[in-house]
């Protein structure tokens, strides 16, 4: 029986705690008597028969007719699936998406359906490479569909491939992939890594265009999203749900398949990274010392390659299919079973180690903007109820924050860093002054459509992702970061954790209470 999540109160006997620092990690001693560490629940058992469970979900959907009854010869069937941003790290083969898509295709073949398109729902993310697509959908599906042009990636900048469906009562435009909109059935294959994913966000975001996305990917919405992980307190989700209604009213027929996975995040040589430090054995301690020392001497590019070659052993814990909202409700409950940790109250400081990966740098570089997004956008938002840090408190991250950008994946990030952040870090100001220019830049559009670049507007979204965190905290400190890059972000650099606490004392006094969110593995704090 896996153990639930745990909140450790730090005392004098508590060993130093592991902090991620990008492509490395360190052990940091937290002050006794006023610090606590939140550990994720241990990985839940995977489903015994994953393929059987998938078939069962398709045959016994929630609030929906079984999938075979929706399939008929001559129909247009579109299967959309989550892109490279999920799961993290990428999982060992076979990927969940492959298993689900193969099951759907088997049923489609049995029903004599021969007009099938498979679309990577990447919204404004970068296109996936052939290897990444093969990893996600499997070689059999790839070889059968991609060469004939039936497996492809959503292009949010192709006006001929988009369908305008109307507006929500709030005036939000709904524009999604034309093939998906005009299909007799849209099957969406989701991986729910965190509660933020799934539901109407799958289609209303993953298959949409800038015209739609700008209505909920903006500073105002993000500041009123508390948090991304709590759908009912998230303006982001409310907007997506309104858009979902427009889709349904427009006749888009969606069959949603959502999956959850356990938090078995690191394979054998790295599994000490998921363990609680006081339970480390001699082998774990040796692994830590050897790997961290070796990584210190490893060129950054090589270290990146090592970490990005990690394939996580996480496995499916549930699969549910059918009507979007009913499915997502059950999915969310299953996510909470794995990730939720009850925590009492807030503290003055929240510390977090930023790991090597986030949804937007798979096989890429965690540039400074993504460091910000990972810290204030994701880890800060890993809460239900209220943030782990009090309003006006301090966030301390550890990450090298290199002044380094992937020129192919993140071209507009470079300009964002060089132009926008030199002028303002205020999400509202940059939204008004610069967003449209970046969104409509023809070069960025070209690179998004034909290369492997995130859309021109994407760095703005990353910055908005942290808007709630920025608004909530009075200071953000990055330990061990490139000083100039950290300052460009508008944050305060510190050399050591002790220095960071000293700097924070200006705001929170000399004996602040501290929470460390020990992740990955993923956890969400249910703050009472």
């Amino acid at each position: 029986m896996p153990r639930p999540g745990f909140v450790l109160e730090v005392d004098r006997n508590t060993p130093p705690i592991l902090f991620w620092r990008g492509e490395n990690y360190s052990l940091e001693k937290l002050p006794a008597g006023r610090s606590r560490v939140i550990y994720a629940p241990e990985p839940l058992e995977a489903l015994k028969d994953i393929d059987g469970s998938i078939v069962d979900a398709l045959l016994n959907p929630i609030d929906h007719d079984p999938l075979p009854e929706l399939l008929f010869p001559g129909m247009k069937l579109t299967i959309a699936f989550d892109d490279i941003s999920l799961p993290l790290p990428p999982m060992t083969r076979p990927d969940i998406r492959q298993r689900v898509i193969e099951a759907v295709l088997d049923m489609a073949a049995d029903a004599g359906v021969d007009d099938v398109h498979i679309i990577a729902a990447l919204a404004l993310h970068r296109r996936m490479t052939e290897a990444e697509l093969r990893h996600a959908v499997g070689d059999r599906v790839y070889d059968a569909f991609a060469p004939r042009g039936f497996l492809y990636q959503h292009d949010a900048e192709d006006p001929d491939a988009l369908e305008y469906l109307g507006q929500t009562p709030h005036g939000e435009d709904v524009e999604i992939n034309k093939r998906a909109a005009n299909s007799d059935l849209l099957v969406y294959v989701n991986i729910n890594l965190v509660a933020m994913d799934g539901g109407w966000k799958s289609t209303a975001t993953g298959l949409s265009s800038y015209k739609s996305l700008q209505h909920h990917h903006n500073p105002k919405t993000m500041e009123q999203t508390r948090s991304f992980m709590d759908q009912h307190k998230s303006e982001l989700h409310k907007s997506n749900w309104r858009m979902g209604k427009v889709m349904v009213d427009s006749g888009v027929k969606v069959f949603q398949i959502e999956t959850t996975m356990n938090t078995d995040t690191f394979p054998k040589p790295f599994n000490f990274l998921s363990k609680r430090e006081w339970e480390w054995n001699a082998r774990d301690r040796a692994s830590f010392v050897m790997s961290s020392q070796a990584l210190k001497r490893t060129p950054t590019r090589l270290a990146r390659n090592i970490f990005h070659s990690i394939e996580a052993p996480h496995q499916m814990t549930s699969v549910q299919a059918g009507e979007v909202e009913a499915v997502h409700k059950q999915t969310t409950e299953n996510v909470w079973k794995q990730q939720l940790v009850e925590v009492q109250g807030q503290t003055d400081i929240l510390t977090m180690g930023i790991p090597f990966i986030c949804p937007y740098n798979v096989n890429s570089i965690m540039n400074p903007i993504l460091v910000m997004c990972m810290g204030l956008g994701y880890l800060f938002n890993m809460y239900k109820g209220k943030p782990l840090v009090r309003e006006g408190g301090v966030v301390i991250m550890t990450h090298p924050t290199p002044w380094d950008f992937h020129p192919v994946h993140h071209p507009s990030y470079i300009d964002f860093f060089e132009q926008v952040l030199t002028e303002t870090t205020d999400p509202h100001v940059m939204h008004e002054k610069y967003e449209k220019r970046f969104a409509e830049d023809e070069w960025y559009k070209h690179l998004y459509r034909t290369s492997y670049a995130y859309h021109g507007v994407h760095p703005f979204y990353m910055w908005y992702w942290g808007a709630h965190g920025m608004q909530h905290c009075s200071r953000v400190i990055i330990v061990g970061g490139d000083v100039k890059a950290v300052r460009r972000l508008g944050f305060t650099p510190a050399s050591t954790m002790d220095d960071a606490f000293e700097i924070a004392s200006d705001v929170v006094g000399r004996t602040p209470t501290i929470t460390h969110i020990h992740t990955p593995p993923v956890l969400v704090a249910d703050v009472k």
Binding site: P411, I414, D415, E418, Q419, D441, E442, W443, H446
Partner: protein, 407 residues
Amino acid sequence: MKALQVSRKVARLGLARMASAVSPSAAAKVGPIKLISIDPPESLGEGWHTVKTRLSGICGSDLSTIEGHASTYFDDLVSFPFTPGHEVVGELADGTRVVIEPVLGHAARGFPLPFDGAAPGDGDDYAHLALGHLEPGIQTGFCHSTGGGWSTYFQAHSSQLHTVPDELSDEAAVMIEPAAGGIHTALMCWPSVATVDRPVIAVLGAGTMGLCAIAGLRRHIPNAHIIVGARYPHQQSYAKAFGADDVVAPKELGRAVRRTVGCHMIGDYLSGGAHVTIYAVGNSGSIETCLQITKPRGTVIMMGMPAEVTVDLTGLWHRETRLVGSYTYGTETMPDGTTARTFDLAIQAVADLDMGRLVSATYPLDDYEDAIAHAASAGRRGAVKVAFDLRTIAQTFDPRSDPKEKN
């Protein structure tokens, strides 16, 4: 009188070249420049005046000579030994403060003017620079006969003299010559952008010359969108103050231009680019950058003196880029078709923009090694213009040292 003098000693030039790679002051110590005591220069004839130096700036071309980097192109256009110093504010025997338009033009060398009212820099035949009654020399400060501003006295022709308005300080006045260079470069941009509503002009480098070009652009092509690549914080501040729209680090200039013009980036080149790019630094890599960020059929104006460089000109050929030099000043054709003397424009610009603030430090001649070291690392040390200050040598014009003038 005291004078800094550069002699043609090949070994010392070579030593200076090597030493400059080690430290800025080393080149001055081992190079061809020496502080000596010599007689004041003899008057050169009718129309010539003895000028007592007040301030004399150290320019990039001076440093290039001292450090042994100057091109052999100049071998026949200068005469050794010479006293450098062409950015000069001084005073005449009657106490009139003057700045020198240093080009030794037709009038100074006794040749007919190329046209009525021509300035020293005008004319399309440079024969006069090496001929006539003076030793060869393109400017005061590179001619053995006239001497230069890095000494107590030198000779200047009446065609070179401009009276300094009383309201201008010496520091402001010593900036008139570089300001004229910047304005000349700015006005050279005009034909390339005359028909463009909002031309984009990039300036790479924001030392003295780059800043003067920015000031000139803002004054004379007010509709230009000026994007500057400036390395140091103080340069970036001045660039903004003188009218740049965008100021970025030099390595970010290409992206900044791309963002403004909205073009693509294909390899190292922009698909479009700036209408004009002004090159105001001094290394070959920078020239390549200028070619990369200038639009096809655009213009690159070379303000900095490049000497010998290796550049891949394939892009220049394919994009039909015009690569033109910008040297000094003369008679300008203004955007409205009228003509004006660059120095007159510069005097007004210096006054309006308080350009005297660009003079960061002054040194006595005795401390020339420190002065040259400071000028050679001006950007890094937070400086723009470094000058020699000879005002303390003699508070007034000393008639005992004043050779009889023959005018």
